[in-house]
Symmetry: C2
Subunit: 341 residues, 2 copies
């Protein structure tokens, strides 16, 4: 009876029905209309009734909305008193020039309020996108991974020790950080010298132009009064520092969650992380601190693995962690502070 | 050729193909397999190729993933060099006991990491859900609208003036606030007296039990040393205060975005907002402040309308606003401070 009641609506819309054989999995039909419009209707013997409506680019959205409204109204009257829950989800828009779907690190579907692509280039290392969000400003997305938006000062503050550290007169090493956020905040704190090692000149170029709320003018030159930016792979740089016995008060690891490297020896993510960690701790002064992002708070297994790694370094360390809300991430993020025992 | 290449995969899966007539909108076929599994394949002459895979409860998820992997691999090899973008979205799970989709105020689709329903009751006024999120703790959802999670102290701080106000010895009126968040923070600040007017006893009961990280023990009694909770509609209470000439140093409007009321006179949302605003300003001391949430930062028209209203009150006021990141909202939120000119 439910099916029959809905069919009249599809007939009015001049949609052609095909009933499919589901071998006992209830009624399943597809209805094809004008402009390539398609409805998939599932009516199980009991349980969840679903209606999917697909339409193509250029279809009349008002008509589509009206069809959905008519179907919902009819369903409510047909099943009156037998409905536990009715839910209509916002439309998924696929293939648009502006992709608004950037799933979280823990795999959830989230739609961003992105309204334009500002920058989209492939460097030798990765795909670099900068997209504009109405609320967050520009967002840097590396290989599909939301890195930082212009509203994400809490990220930068968290990975610098949340205002609890005194940077004045200190020597600072930043690994990665091509968006310039950390560098821009750190130079304000009058350190003796900041060295930033970012592999990808194109990230620097894109952010210098399009993420100015994050980097200010700090990326306009690769050298400043109290900082230098080395456009290099950080692994050989760290190795050289270890050899030379050069050390730092703060080492800030802002490399992307999925590491990139020019060296062939680090083929697994974890081995790479371990290598960076070990080298970083080696260039850290006895009173120094190593800051890094961990992962999203929900990925408890990955976090546990990372903490296990911290226990296996050549130099014994202690650590603390903090859960921080980074506005554009849509998920809470864990940051670590590591120091020598 | 693309279609033919994919068909072999569906044949291997013993799925039955139905080709639909799209009247020139490209190739459109549905494939039905075992367990009610359904694939919708659209291959336009040029542009976006889409594959939708629907499966029912109890289907073998590994098999479904394998099918998707096989289709993606085949597509990549068939269209090698002609693909601009490949995107696979996380599965939408409909009809589950735990609903994870709670769209933002600006209508975007977001999936929460909700893993259990803690409380789900209909009061005389609204549907009250408290759901557990792995990262945010319990979340209060009123009539499908995410109100507050146990991680949302930034909301409470924002609607109390962000620590810039001195509550000591002051008289405070809270409108709504049944989750107890504001009350719990306010009592710590040693005010003279807080009066909270919440219409819905069931919100108080649910939050007292399941939102203790938010309300602490403050809702265990409706009266404390420096506070009282009136379980009443705030409109008649406000009117009585106006008549009596009772005034407050702080009025905090924490009513839900969509207002609820027992009075018949406020049939439109805006009229209700206007009424509350006007009465609130009337009970505000000349040096007092009125705090309220506005709306999501993206709803610029609604915010402009609200600000227009502020200009039309019986007593002239000034206001300031602030954009705040409330962790569980997945969108930036605007808060207002209003004072008498």
């Amino acid at each position: 009876m439910t099916v029959h009641g809905l069919q009249s609506i599809f007939q009015e819309q001049e949609m052609t029905e095909t009933v499919h054989d589901t071998e006992g999995h209830g009624y399943l039909a597809t209805f094809i209309g004008k402009n390539g419009r398609l409805v998939i209707l599932r009516v199980p013997v009991h349980g969840l009734l679903t209606i999917d409506l697909q339409c193509c680019e250029g279809d009349n959205i008002v008509q589509v909305e009206n069809l959905l409204n008519a179907l919902e109204k009819k369903l409510r009257s047909l099943l009156h008193g037998n409905i536990k829950r009715v839910k209509r989800l916002p439309a998924l828009i696929r293939g648009a020039a502006v992709d608004r779907y950037w799933p979280t690190a823990d795999g959830r579907l989230v739609e961003y309020d992105i309204d334009r692509v500002v920058y989209d280039e492939d460097s030798a290392y990765q795909n670099i996108k900068i997209m504009h969000s109405q609320q967050f400003g520009n967002i840097l997305i590396l290989n599909g991974d939301v890195n930082l938006s212009e509203s994400d000062l809490p990220y930068t503050q968290a990975i610098m020790g949340r205002g609890k550290e005194n940077y004045a007169g200190k020597e600072v090493l930043i690994l990665g950080g091509g968006d310039g956020g950390i560098l821009s905040e750190a130079v304000k704190l009058k350190p003796k010298m900041i060295t930033m090692v970012e592999i990808d000149q194109m990230v620097i170029d894109g952010c210098r132009t399009h993420m100015r709320k994050t980097c200010g003018s700090v990326l306009d030159n690769l050298k400043g009064e109290c900082y230098q930016v080395l456009v290099e792979d950080c692994v050989p740089v760290l190795k050289k520092y270890v050899e030379e016995g050069k050390t730092f008060d703060y080492v800030i690891n802002d490399l992307t969650a999925v590491p990139i490297s020019t060296a062939p020896e680090e083929d697994s993510t974890w081995e790479f992380l371990q290598l960076i960690l070990d080298l970083s701790i080696k260039v850290l002064r006895p009173t120094g601190k190593y800051f890094t992002q961990g992962n999203c708070a929900n990925l408890t297994e990955a976090l546990a693995l990372y903490e296990e790694q911290l226990g296996r370094l050549s130099c014994p360390v202690d650590f603390s962690k903090e859960v921080v809300c980074v506005p554009s991430y849509m998920e809470l993020w864990v940051f670590y502070t590591v120091w020598k025992k």
